[in-house]
Symmetry: C2
Subunit: 488 residues, 2 copies
């Protein structure tokens, strides 16, 4: 692994040097160069099929396939992305964002963690898998889809999936764009939230009116809107939109127990990642991790009405708007939530006021994989062996195209990531912790070995998993697996 | 009166030609020219003392005094202003705003109604008074204070009052900057609301946070602010700030009866002045006129938080602000209302959120004169004679420096105005209706005659006023007054 690792670091640095900022049209040529770089690397590794999909409307995506020797082996599609976030504020970077630097265990640079580092981990993982097994082809048929628009919200992922549905066909999707819970607590992510955003505009007349002459006698659009917003949550922090929780799938007792066992230091989280929030608040009856992972939300992401410049303008504003973003969890349906929001707004529009609700696109659906799915358990076991410790279940509160992959390809999606939540993705000084990423590659090498067996016996393990709960060393590799671990 | 009126129109056109926009530093020289124009006109009329107060910090104000022959005669200070509103959007004017034009009964131009026309009305009124009485001095000692900053909120009126308190000493202030209720229903205004504005800022952390990663687990400043705003009113439209109504002086039964008798067409008001509001709303138990005249309000004049640009930014905003403007009525005290607001905000600041309350200046106090004050009744009788019809009591919902004049000079303030609510003050195509203004001058000529007698018997009429209610022709001039009317 060590020889492989040296090459790996050099390669990743080379790839990071290509500023593939998908959100910036000035960098679209770099997104294309980044795709070419990846295609070249894949070909160099011996992937038999490598394609750059660059015929639009999506920014260039890379597709590759390496069939297993056994035509009956499971087909696994790995999802990742090669576009990166913008680098502003660039003056806060300690090194130039596209000149990757290794300092101790860390490799700094834009995309080091999100998601070039994790895609490169897959290349390394397969090399390790082949080296460890002595095979000339992987134990599963591996497909790779590395898109170039994830940081822009994957606007054309459905187009790619529709167009290449047959080619992308698989028994399982491995989704690689989420982190471990913590370096000290590697986890299997089992789901992401979805989201939907409505802009709600309330209007009470054609003009702003003088607050002296008219104030008290006419509706105030800003007050009407504030009353609507205030009605969205009850005193317990629950969302008071009727029907909102109808389709919410509650986490299992096992998941809640895993979440509770994670080393979550709320005070440190507030002071650190949450940058100075003084109190964790939210829906009564749920922990902070649960509130941000498995519970839906309704957040006001922006609100505006009337005069907001310097000084005072004594008006009754005619109009006010707000953006309401709901994070959704399985099994909430985007169209049903839209309907519930529309109805709620209509019911909270007072006399003399009209309300308009506009949704920004159709939203991103939530997704979660069964924790007792054999592939979930295989990921857990592979990570446990590579990290040599128990691996718990986690979730992530953000959103991604996992549900779309699931919907279009009609197969389960499991999450496999080996980066860390404090990698400063989307922020200055993004980094990846190399030893963690290398363990991830090691786990992948093992995962491809495990999957043929595990996927042959679906619905096998629920009893085992539940029984396992009581065992402290539950995730310790079994003897048979230990051997694999040594070889990966 | 007709010869006087011709001169009057020519003079007013000349004055309007000076664009004394106090809010625009580029026009400050014009404010000075406007003050000089007025001083010259007053001197031409024979006012023995005329001063331009131009030593700052206030923009130039004009002071004048014309003593009565009888040193025991009451001293009356007339308040008005000579600065005008900006003219934007200038393209909506049918004539250039500073080239006054007479069309039929209307004189168009910026300041025609607010307030040059009404100040000019005082000049004309005194000429008519002298002509009608054959006196060489008015029946009361007349003082004039015409400031140059009213449209900027009279920021230095207290400075002027403090500096010239002795010189401005009077038994009564006649405040001339309010309209009649309607051409068909001349009224005596008996009060203006005050106002106070607080900017309330809620902060939940140091940074906007990602709505996926943190949403549901941390406070949302925009939601906290909206919940505060929503708590300001109860379901009946009453202000729910504890103690807010403690000092509110309710209008008398007589006033409410007068208001109810005014020809107020709510549907026309909504479609016209309120520019398309579809429903009058407000505090339960009060009419629209009462809600806008004698009831306090709490209006959100602006609200802002989070991301409000195009598209969506999936954040939990760290901060949101709102401007809360309360219109106040007697006997609400500015400092007490400030304290109530501060307490209310503190009580509605949820865990994890901090709130800051900043008041814009100390606010403008409310003012109302007793409806049975002899001077109020004298104004009513003078108007009734000039307009030859019953004159009811009204109020105005806006604010002005009447309470400050009252507080500094320690005398009652009565309102005397002869303009109309649809004069489009502060808007394009401001106009004044000349026959109405001329009747106002006629009423003034009579008022100065009435006041020496009326002010000699203070607290005389309450019983009479109340008894008068039952009389249809209550405001008909008494015989003695009719004679004066013919002479004015």
């Amino acid at each position: 692994m060590h020889g492989l690792a040296d090459d790996f670091v050099a390669e990743l640095c080379e790839w990071i040097a290509i500023p593939s900022i998908g959100a910036d049209p000035a960098h679209h040529a770099d997104v294309a160069r980044s795709a070419e770089w990846l295609a070249t690397a894949l070909r160099r590794d011996g992937w038999p099929t490598v394609e750059v999909w660059d015929t639009g409307p999506a920014l260039p995506a890379v597709y590759a396939c390496w069939p297993a020797e056994d035509p009956a082996a499971p087909v696994v599609l790995v999802y990742g992305h090669h576009d990166v976030q913008p680098v502003d504020p660039v003056e806060h970077w300690q090194h130039p964002p596209f000149e990757a630097v290794v300092r101790g265990e860390e490799l700094f640079g834009r995309g080091a963690s999100d998601d070039k580092g994790q895609v490169a981990m897959h290349l390394l993982g397969l090399r390790a898998h082949l080296a460890a097994t002595g095979q000339t082809a992987p134990s599963v048929t591996l497909k790779l889809l590395v898109e170039g628009e994830e940081e822009s919200g994957s606007p054309h992922i459905a187009t790619l999936l529709a167009e290449h549905r047959t080619k992308l066909g698989a028994d399982l999707v491995v989704f690689t764009d989420t982190p471990l819970f913590d370096r000290s607590a590697p986890t299997v992510c089992t789901g992401q939230r979805g989201h939907i955003t409505a802009t709600i505009t309330m209007t009470s007349g054609n003009s702003d009116l003088h607050s002296g002459r008219f104030g008290g006698g006419v509706p105030n659009a800003a007050i009407a809107l504030a009353r609507l917003v205030a009605a969205v949550h009850d005193e317990q922090g629950r969302i008071a939109i009727p029907g909102f929780y109808d389709d919410v799938r509650e986490p299992s007792a096992l998941e809640r127990e895993h979440f509770a066992r994670l080393p979550f230091d709320e005070a440190a989280w507030l002071a650190g990642p949450a940058d100075g929030v003084t109190a964790a608040t939210g829906e009564a009856g749920w922990t902070t991790l649960e509130r941000t992972w498995v519970r839906p939300t309704a957040e006001i992401t922006g609100i505006h009405g009337g005069y907001t410049g310097p000084g005072v303008k004594t008006i009754v504003p005619r109009q006010a708007s707000t953006a309401l973003t709901c994070r959704l969890v399985p099994d909430q349906q985007l169209d049903r939530v839209q309907e519930l929001i529309r109805r709620f707004v209509a019911e909270h529009t007072p006399p003399g006021v009209t309300a308009e609700v506009v949704f920004h696109g159709s939203g991103v659906p939530p997704y979660a994989v069964d924790i007792d799915h054999p592939a979930t358990l295989a990921v857990r076991d592979a990570l446990a062996a590579a990290f040599d410790q128990e691996v718990l279940f986690s979730r992530t509160g953000g959103s991604g195209p996992a549900a779309l992959l699931h919907a279009w390809l009609d197969v389960p999606v499991v999450y496999f990531g080996a980066t860390l939540p404090d990698d400063r993705i989307h922020a200055p000084n993004e980094r990846v912790v190399l030893p963690v990423l290398l363990r991830g590659a090691e786990a992948l090498a093992r995962l491809w070995r495990l999957l043929p067996d595990r996927l042959r016996t679906p619905a096998a393990e629920p009893a085992g998993i539940t029984a396992e709960l009581g065992l402290a060393g539950s995730a310790r590799p079994e003897p048979g697996r230990e051997q694999e671990a040594n070889r990966a």
